[in-house]
Symmetry: C2
Subunit: 478 residues, 2 copies
């Protein structure tokens, strides 16, 4: 944040966090995509995206658009930094056009002058001041009724990104957009690098909510009708039902194809803020610091004569001899080994896992219990996150932990909770907190599976810290 | 076994099972070397070595020479096939000359006509009938007072083996030995392959115990004196003390260097019984069946475009793209990735682990508990082997398992055992058996750590099958 600068109170940030994807398999899983992972540094990509906005807008102006399936993961990762109402849940993912459209209608209803900075939740930006400067340069153009994209000056002939061809200059670093260009082949990418007018399309946009709604009305009239038809319900207790009705009938579409490529009011800010879409394991090579042999070593790894390779371990030891330009990723249930130049084929490998009946490796690792099953989603110093599923009528033992507290969030179904002397119910999207040394019991009184996210925190998280008082499965432990 | 053939009742087999080594790291560990591993097929290398002798001699004629540190692992792997007195324990490893000398004195004392077939515990032989035929051809020469080695006809210019240069023929397939040759370089190995007189030194020998003792007397007089001095104690209850005294003063030496390279009575049987010393991960390529792209895939692995590679997983998934001539080995705590042509450098990698303070990866994976620690040595369908260490005065909870029985062998220290209503003590090298549904408790009443090997067997071995009745660590589970 530029010292002394006041953030624009009309400026809202809308983070798109609905993305799935298995390009970071085996670390990412279908139900645990890369925005929730600590791929770079101590924070998840989503957490870093939020932190990056500190100098841009107030926390209460940050909205995260996500899908029902991922909203609890977003809630967990934002509970320290943002208010609970920062999350806007789409019933289902329908690509970017419906998500941005919904956010625009919401924001305009709150503030007719609202400016929206739309940004992906899973990208990386190195130069924060340049990023903030680029936003400042974009604001005037957006306030004047334009859709402003952010184009990043290429430093290599990248074939993995889409490009924006900038046209006539409007002011310093701001240009009209001549065209959007799909991912080029290597020859064209080299030509783009020489021709200074081609910029990487960062997928970040700034515009007034009103401008976007106008353009959607013009170029995506069905989408406009769908959302303007439920405008009255937005922000009321009828919002969820209204969205379900809209999402059951609208088409999936990208804002790029639906609006940006057609609109006459599209500008681009030319900048170099050290941006990466973190599109694959190989992208770490462009972001992270390398050792003298060009290796990136994250986690527990001992390597002899490695060159230009990427090693990522979630805890177990990776030991290697003589690897050149390879990627090795080690997680609790699977290890990936792949040449860097073939990381794009990880998605084919994931397809092959499906074909060969190894779907379990596309989900977090599951352990069966008499009452259902659980999967450890993530483990770190002092915390552990589990996804727990209780069968209908299942009941965990009455238990207590000396060293850990637990936070439970119901993802689906209904939970009956005993906490000390209290007994109460918690519904979907509600949560409760069990401090250490408090006797507790979790039960599924319902007819459908109860799914909860459990966040354990404490200095000792071992399975040996369970003191059981009663257990319907004839065990005195879980 | 050739049907109807009677085995020679004077023929004793002596299996050398003292070898350490980490060339199969991370599967083998310093305290769990390769003879105890299931590297090829369903049996460990030691188990296969014993099975291979079925057609050669009677089980009661098999002796396994090992060191104190490994004797419990040998006991565990032989308890189904051999009697408890099949194990001859050296106080410490001193290479092959003392081990063979000791075995020869023991065998001659039992039977002055004893023939000894000495063989390593960790080699692989494919053609059993050819192996048995070679032994038959060697017997007459051994009975006539010669030391007979087994030379394997080379099928490639191997630089990893020592060679025997065969000289004048004595009878069909039996020759005088002209010389022993150290591991050659590639050029010499190619020359050896053309010159039919060079054979691989298999490390297998056949001789009369008396012949070997005569030759030791001639060429290793100190060793002869040491063992002839305790001959009276062998086979009595003074044997252990006598051996400790001998082993505290004798030098380590190989039988090859000490006797075979000097003796004038050394013969070689020329044979081709599909032998491998299983010297490294790459050796699997010479032993096991490959897929059409030349890969060997053992365990859970999905590979795209792999060629000439070896994949070995202990359970977790190995997933790879585009690996050529690589070795990937995945165990519960470490993964090795290495080009096949560099597997000999795994020992350097192990050195590097020591240097970088990662010694824990040279031991089986250890888990800490309030009462001490344990390591899972091996897990398979229906069984699990743990090494358990209890601190002095430590006491496990009084517990019971519904689905598993446990066999405990004390490796060091003293154990106090409650089993049902009985309470008793077991000492080093003694064992007890706890059937399922029997309440039991293990305690270290002593002043030194109690180390036991626990073999669990049953259809369900989960940590959830522990019913606790009392626990001094304030847990109702372990």
């Amino acid at each position: 944040m530029i010292p002394g600068r006041k953030t624009n109170k009309n400026l809202h940030a809308v983070i798109m966090a609905g993305g799935k994807g298995t390009r970071f398999w085996p670390l990412s899983r279908e139900t645990f995509p890369k925005q929730f992972l600590k791929i770079i540094g101590e924070k998840t990509l989503l957490e870093s995206t939020i932190e990056r906005l500190r100098g841009v807008t107030q926390p209460e102006n940050i909205l995260i658009v996500t899908t029902a399936g991922q909203s609890e993961l977003v809630r967990w990762q934002t509970k320290e930094t943002l208010a609970p109402d920062c999350i806007l849940v789409e019933p289902e993912g329908r690509n970017t056009a419906p998500a941005i459209s919904l956010a625009a209608f919401k924001k305009r209803k709150e503030n007719k002058d609202a400016l929206m900075l739309v940004l992906p939740s899973d990208h990386h930006i190195t130069h924060l001041e340049a990023f903030e400067a680029a936003i400042n340069e974009a604001v005037a153009a957006a306030e004047a009724g334009n859709l402003v994209t952010f184009g990043v000056i290429p430093d290599r002939p990248e074939t993995g990104y889409g490009y924006i061809k900038s046209g006539k200059p409007v002011r310093k670093n701001v240009f009209r957009v001549e065209s959007f260009v799909e991912k080029p082949d290597a020859r064209r990418a080299r030509a783009f690098l020489k021709d200074k007018s081609y910029l990487w399309n960062s997928g970040i946009f700034l515009f007034k909510a009103q401008t976007m709604i106008n353009e959607i009305k013009k170029y995506m009239p069905d989408l406009y009708k769908a959302f303007s038809g439920i405008e009255k319900q937005l922000g009321t207790d009828q919002e969820t039902a209204a969205l379900e009705s809209v999402y059951s009938r609208i088409e999936a579409d990208s804002i790029d194809y639906g609006v940006l490529e057609k609109s006459k009011r599209v500008f681009v800010v030319r900048s170099d803020f050290g941006w990466s879409d973190v599109g694959s394991w190989s992208a770490l090579g462009e972001i992270m610091e390398k050792d003298e042999a060009g290796n990136i070593v994250l986690g527990n790894s001992v390597n002899m004569d490695a060159e230009g390779s990427i090693f990522f371990s979630s805890g177990r030891l990776i030991a290697s001899i003589g690897l050149k330009d390879m990627v090795v990723v080690d997680t609790s249930d699977a290890t990936l080994i792949c040449p860097r130049e073939r990381v794009q084929e990880v998605k084919n490998l994931v397809d092959k896992l499906k074909e060969t009946g190894k779907q379990e490796y596309l989900m977090p690792k599951t352990e069966e219990r008499p009452w259902g099953h659980f999967a450890v989603l993530e483990k770190g110093p002092g915390y552990q996150i589990k996804h727990i599923c209780l069968k209908p009528k299942a009941r965990l033992s009455l238990q207590m932990h000396n060293h850990r507290s637990e936070h439970w969030i119901v993802v689906s179904g209904i939970a009956k909770v005993q906490k000390g002397e209290e007994v109460f119910y918690i519904n979907k999207n509600e949560s409760t907190y069990i401090p250490n040394t408090v006797k507790h019991r979790l039960e599924n009184p319902g007819m459908i599976p109860l799914k909860i996210i459990e966040i354990q925190s404490g200095e000792h998280l071992g399975e040996d810290d369970i003191i059981r008082f009663d257990d319907i499965y004839g065990r005195t432990k879980h």
